[in-house]
């Protein structure tokens, strides 16, 4: 067994050298001078801290977040794969089939003179979940399963679009705001004014003024949300510009790009990731609300919002409740996943949590 277990490579060489001799060494040799390697002392090495490695490590340790990340990845993959699967139905196709005619009021099958139910070719409306229609059909005979996935695609698209615009504009303006001192006053005032207005109200006004649609919704949600991102970025830039340790770093000749890469980049990446993750539940939430007050996207574009709203309308009838239940479950799983992952990432990206 080796007498020493040094971890550094260079010290290992030294240790090996001594190890070889240690057994043979007598007292005299033990008390003679050891070879001095002036570099040996430099190999403190400490814990080898790396921001990204620690962030990933902190995130991976969070089992709940990892689970929800898996859910997100699976959902994302599935929304893309789903239309390609064989036997998948068109989300907007209205299906017809032979239907037992129901009495409008009693909802009992209508009978002909022989006492048999009357069967006619009709819309496949309100069919309960089963083999043919996994999640059933809605009030006009569309397949709920494919509608839900189409809706998820559209809702996620809105969310991602908002998050991207938010991040791009936010970073661009934020960096300008931080570096160009003349702009500071203007943007600060702009922020102070618009920070006061609730986003929901802005989305309502914009949706009311413009024609409802995906574009309108994305535009309305992006209109002011980037200000908050810009503000975050601006504060970070100011810190980089003015904090003593960065000043010291500059005095020691660290090139500005290195300070940026080491200090700003990790921050920006975590901000973007976090805001992306949190913008999606927020966008979906806004969308559900806007749809409820009648300013949502047109019906031919299913979204989670329109599906929930359609389900809400029939929720008092117990037999049709599945039309609310399925979209709500999918929506809740998606929003919670993004929310949890976004927050967990924000925590993991905070160096304060890199201890332990």
């Amino acid at each position: 067994m080796a007498l020493f277990r040094f971890k550094d490579r260079k010290t290992e060489e030294l240790a090996a050298h001594i190890n070889d001799h240690a057994k043979k060494m007598d007292e005299k040799e033990l008390f003679s001078f050891a070879p001095y390697d002036p570099n040996a002392g430099e190999r403190g090495g400490y814990s080898g801290y790396s921001y990204w490695r620690s962030t990933l490590r902190a995130f991976r340790k969070n089992a709940v977040a990892m689970f929800f990340l898996l859910v997100i990845v699976a959902t994302l993959l599935f929304t893309f794969v789903e239309p390609l699967l064989p036997y998948e139905k068109e989300p907007n196709t209205i299906y017809y089939s032979e239907q037992v005619q129901l009495d409008l009021f009693t909802r009992q099958p209508k009978l002909d003179e022989n006492g048999n139910p009357i069967v006619k070719v009709d819309l496949s409306r309100d069919i309960k979940p089963g083999k043919e229609y996994w999640f059933g059909t809605n009030a006009i005979g569309q397949d709920l399963w494919s509608q839900i996935w189409e809706g998820t695609r559209n809702s996620l698209f809105i969310g991602f679009a908002v998050a991207c615009v938010d991040a791009l504009l936010g970073i661009l303006v934020g960096v300008l705001w931080g570096y160009v001192r003349k702009l500071d006053f203007f943007f600060t005032e702009l922020y102070n004014v618009f920070d006061n207005v609730p986003q929901t109200l802005i989305v309502v006004i914009i949706s009311y003024i413009l024609r409802p649609g995906m574009g309108t919704m994305i535009f309305a949600m992006c209109l002011t949300s980037w200000l908050a991102t810009a503000r975050f970025v601006r504060n970070q830039v100011v810190i980089i510009r003015d904090r003593d340790y960065n000043l010291a770093s500059r005095c020691l000749g660290t090139p500005p790009w290195r300070i940026m890469v080491k200090n700003l980049l990790p921050y920006l990446v975590s901000i973007i990731t976090m805001r992306m993750a949190l913008a999606i539940p927020a966008a979906i939430s806004n969308e559900v609300f806007i749809t409820y007050i009648g300013l949502g996207v047109p019906l031919e574009t299913p979204t989670l919002g329109t599906l929930v709203e359609a389900g809400r309308k029939v929720m008092s009838s117990a037999s049709l409740r599945y039309q609310l239940f399925f979209p709500v479950v999918v929506l809740a799983v998606i929003t919670i996943s993004f929310y949890v992952v976004g927050n967990a990432f924000a925590d993991a990206a905070d160096p304060k949590n890199h201890v332990n």
Binding site: S32, G44, Y46
Partner: protein, 348 residues
Amino acid sequence: MEEKPILSAKDLELKFTLRGKVMTALRGISLDVYKGESLAIVGESGSGKSVFTKTFMGLTDANGAITGGELWYKDTDLTALKTEAQWRKIRGKEIAMVMQDPMTSLNPLKTVGWQIQEAVELHQGLKGAAAHAAAVEALKDVGIDDAERRYHQYPHEFSGGMRQRVVIAIAIACKPQVLICDEPTTALDVTIQAQILGLIKDLQKKYKLTTIYITHDLGVVANVADRIAVMYAGDIVEIGKCEEVFYDPKHPYTWALLSSLPQLGVKGEPLYAIEGTPPNLFVEVHGDAFAPRNPKALNIDFVERPPFFEVSPTHKARTWLLDPRAPKVEAPERIRHLKEQGVSLRVQ
């Protein structure tokens, strides 16, 4: 010194778990502190001096734990104290602390008086007007004028030096036996430093306190301490009376530390600096922790940890150089004649 120590650590070992790795912050450290004395613990940052004194009060961070050795305050086994309630009999009441940064160690939303009075009520058993009077008295004690008015002010209305006086007043108001001053002047202007040190010295005399200073500044030590303990990589390498350590240092690390004093610099020559960095405490240290940075290290320094060799009854050092079998190595030239040169380390 035949008397019983007031505070005593024997082979104390403390480990932290950090990012899944274990770090040994204290490597079997031993120290006796005697009543009424003034001891300074000197070392680089990261040598474990703050961690060491925090164990006296049970204030070690949650990810650290004592894994071996003994720690006694008078007749109380501190390693046996588990609950907060048990520790509260020690904290403040027996051992009080002055922390490094007066800007952050006061509650910004409470008046200065309120914070002193909190300590008074806890430890002097006074209430109401009597407690108020005692708090004002404590303010006067630390040399704050117009104490009655100052009592009602908030920390942000005080300068850094004044805040440190308040922190000291809080410590004194606890009526402790031992006062730990953790870098009490590091965050202050040089002009204020001497005042604060003088104040602590006066209070030590007045209240017969045992004081433990933690510092990396040898100038501070020379001003206030009776004895010095030099710490390196979680262990004390040399301990002795002030003059002994300054004028007759034995451990190569102490030599290096003294050599790096700016007062010893010769004009026109670069200042002496110790080569290398302190060891990585995540890696197990073998033998003498300073050996890799010591040009005159012996083979045995890499193999076995040196024991304490007694230089005099009050002066001990952990270095194989004191072993009779070791070759004779002289202290570096520049620090060998400090006494003869009459170099004074005191700052005034």
